[in-house]
Symmetry: C2
Subunit: 146 residues, 2 copies
DNA sequence: CTTCATTTCTGGCATATGCCAGTATCTGAT
DNA sequence: ATCAGATACTGGCATATGCCAGAAATGAAG
């Protein structure tokens, strides 16, 4: 049954890929998840916690927990919004940007090896499928599926 | 960068799918991961912890931790091997088998909705790709990739 | 301007995972 | 029989995630 379960298979592959990417990034001291978070923050430019969580398809509180180590290590900081005092924006510190840039080299290498092993086109196709599965549209179609 | 990262996209999709499958199984009180574990144990028939961990592509100690709640709730039990006293086998209790069978209905429904939303063939193809990514062969090709 | 619902975070608790350092066995070489 | 090295777990610590119950701030009514 497990091999027929889309969810179980996805998690299994996540564990595997997580391990190899983690190994690849190990010299940086960052986990693959942390690297992904820093990269996303960098792209979004001071997103509110809520916005970042939505983009990551992550629970807001889970995001908060996950950011703790990065804040503690000085890579990320939270800055309150000027207008709405409920909102906090996430930003990379100078150290965070530097760490992100350095780690990017390790990531690029892992990424290259992945594409070489799995195939460039197949990888791109896979990412497109995963993007689709991560979308709100998919959730709605699945949940509200008549 | 994040959308180009195979690992980040895989995790993102995992979070999404985890949420919808968890929701679907919620009435049973089991998480989708726990259900998957029970199903795998059922298939393997009293596997050693090490064997189960390998099949799940999971760290041995992580498996141990993950089993704790299931043991506590009486769905799973560990039985020492007769020959080799280092080895412990994992087995479903009667309650575990019953819970698995009941929950299977909820799982089948979620699975059906997934396939309807995503497409039967696409789902099967995706699972095949995920199986490939979870394989030791892939890890070797990636790691030792010249 | 109060009141109440809504929105955004924070904190506590629980599961999911992994790494590393033991501990108990087992095995093979001497 | 002995002892070094390999194996199979266990436990402690740390990150990854999620749910739920607050607390703080906003916004919409009246």
């Amino acid at each position: 049954m497990t091999r027929e379960c889309n969810n179980s298979m996805l998690r299994r592959a996540s564990r595997m890929l997580g391990q190899v990417y983690d190994d690849a990034l190990a010299p940086s001291g960052l986990r693959a998840t942390q690297f992904g978070l820093l990269a996303q923050i960098d792209i979004m430019r001071e997103p509110a916690l809520r916005e970042l969580a939505a983009e990551m398809v992550m629970d807001l509180s889970a995001l908060g927990h996950t950011l703790k180590p990065l804040i503690r290590d000085g890579y990320v900081a939270l800055v309150p919004d000027k207008k709405d005092r409920r909102v906090k924006h996430v930003t990379l510190t100078k150290a965070g940007r530097k760490k992100l840039e350095q780690t990017s080299k390790l990531w690029a290498d892992a990424q290259r090896r992945f594409e070489k092993t799995f195939g460039d086109k197949r990888a791109a196709d896979l990412r497109a499928v995963l993007e689709e599965l991560s979308s709100e549209d998919f959730r709605k179609a699945f949940t509200g599926g008549s």
